[in-house]
Symmetry: C2
Subunit: 148 residues, 2 copies
Amino acid sequence: MDVEHSLQQRMDLFRQRCLELGLACTHQRMVIYKALASTTAHPTPEAIYEQVKREIPAISLGTVYKNIRTFTDAGLLREVSVLHDSLRLDANLGDHHHLVCVRCKAIFDVPETEVTPVQLREPLPDGFRLERCSVLFLGVCAQCAAAQ
Amino acid sequence: MDVEHSLQQRMDLFRQRCLELGLACTHQRMVIYKALASTTAHPTPEAIYEQVKREIPAISLGTVYKNIRTFTDAGLLREVSVLHDSLRLDANLGDHHHLVCVRCKAIFDVPETEVTPVQLREPLPDGFRLERCSVLFLGVCAQCAAAQ
DNA sequence: TTATCTGCAAAGCCTTTGCGCAGAT
DNA sequence: ATCTGCGCAAAGGCTTTGCAGATAA
């Protein structure tokens, strides 16, 4: 599929979703979203800011943060790192996986034996040395579900 | 297996590893490690600090942070959240997984079709509403491997 | 005794917030 | 015309750092 075309489609969809959500289609928002949709590098807010500045030199970092928050709250964007807001520690060095509540960030252990073996079919990027694999099962715990 | 006994074993092993690594076996370190080894809750540094304060009221939060860093660097402890240090964004809302370089934190997409289907065999904790599953393949990218 | 570690306090990110003006609907 | 969003700057968390005294080897 034509990448340019696909991006165009995604921008159209974005515009439409903004209308539906009652979000103003500002120039800043379009450029910020375009920067996000144009890469698979999973950028940081700072990286988006640098990218957007090329087109809107007067943009402020605060605006980038505000809109990233707005987009994620609206479901237009996702955080790769669900647990990114604070350091969580694990003294269990054995192989195991985790079950995470996306609301309260509670983490439960999942023994490796309880998960079907995970294997990559694809050859890795050239020279990538794979060390281990960690599965995150995401959802909402009973307590958080009860609290609506 | 007796939990009490297991903890004792882990403390002995910790003491031994400290010796091997040339790390001083201070009272603070023992208590911090004990707090980490005694829970499966994947605590934050702040939570460890609160726990350790019960036994060492004069402990400082800085000491807890320094030792957590020392332990992780030494391989005695692991971070659950490899990408916790900054927000990483993903405009691709379709199901897919990620390949992450643990050194430079580069993130590559892995299409869901390239991974064997992941399934939990175990019944979930009561009332947990599972939403999705995200696999992190961890390793070292070619560039970082080349840079030693 | 010597090197390392601790507590304290300050500094450094990253991110959020408040406010008045500007822009979208 | 009204409401929302933007830029600016300040404030707020979390984490690291520097230093002098204390502790482990």
